[in-house]
Symmetry: C2
Subunit: 207 residues, 2 copies
């Protein structure tokens, strides 16, 4: 029997390096890991692929999914629907694939309420100074803009306590190794290993 | 504040490669990992160092430790005492050092009963054939001897369900990477990270 995948909820303040870490983890497109892909009713932009960047569906299909309770969360933004499909995630997990859900603390709470077995990983910057530097590094931002970003970051970080693991992204390679270790270790838990190695265990324990 | 170390209980049937895996994990003598060292009243053999191979103590000292309830388990074998000191392990954990306790399923149960936070890791051989091969590889053993070893191995393996993680030692390097990932991931749990990074978190979350 195949191992069921694990669902990882990954949150961080802007500037902590979350997207880079997830990107690096999935860089070689491992067959047993993928980022959760949202559903949307907006039109694909040039270069966007169905099933990769989004699951592109029409409004009727999206509303049918809402009625089926398929979404963890959904929202309408500028007339388009966006949603995270629990059904799609469950199907992916059932195929033995670990799924990474890149969401904020509010989304994390909703997912955890519905799937308590989801594993929360919170990524932190190493210091306030470094975070300020990263939040300003994209250009010539005003002090007010940076202060507003910092306030958002502090709000997000204030929820670190709701996650299972903390990674401090001081050195990128170290943080990536830590992230990988969390993913690998969670595959080695008793329950998952029993489902993967059931036949082997039967063989080993035969009288 | 320093992180408290984790206590790993490592069990396996003879032939699974447990000693080699623990040895490889600690090969470079990392400052933050060590194997639990037992107490004994027997005399040191040539080359044995106090605190490395055993804590060598006299009978009166050992009995005083028994009276203090210092041991998880102790036994008298051919007139000498042997014991695993919970006090010594707790002191080592308090210094932020992960401790590896190489014991069988019975010892594991005793330790888990007293320290439920201990993390159980069970190492399995990849198949019955391979286990038989390993159990016979030390020399020219009789079929009876091998059968007896296999029966002991099956008894030990029948308790795999009582552990938190399973490692299948098919390929040594893979098994070692898995073991390392388990150790690292367990350092990244919220509680431990909070104690290591308390000042940083205060700094990040300051209003």
């Amino acid at each position: 029997m195949a191992r069921r995948g694990n669902l990882f909820i990954v949150s961080a303040p802007s500037g902590a390096g979350k997207s880079s870490l997830i990107g690096a983890l999935l860089k070689d497109k491992p067959a047993d890991m993928q980022v959760s892909v949202s559903h949307t009713t907006r039109a694909p932009r040039p270069g966007e692929q169905d099933g990769v960047h989004y699951h592109f569906v029409d409004k009727a299909a999206f509303e049918a999914l809402i009625d089926q309770g398929a979404f963890f969360e959904w929202a309408e933004v500028f007339g388009n629907y966006y949603g995270t499909s629990r059904v799609t995630i469950e199907q992916t997990l059932d195929r033995g694939i670990d799924v990474f859900l890149d969401i904020d603390w509010q989304g994390a709470r909703q997912v955890k309420a519905l799937m308590p077995e989801a594993i929360g990983v919170f990524i932190l910057p190493p210091s306030r100074e470094e975070l300020e530097r990263r939040l300003n590094s994209r250009g010539q931002d005003s002090a007010d803009t940076i202060a507003a970003r910092m306030a958002d970051a502090v709000t997000e970080m204030s929820h670190f306590n709701e996650y299972d693991y903390l990674i401090v992204n001081k050195d990128f390679d170290t943080a990536l190794a830590e992230f990988s270790a969390i993913v690998l270790a969670n595959r080695l838990h008793l329950a998952g290993q029993k489902s993967v190695h059931g036949d082997m265990l039967d063989d080993l324990l035969a009288g």
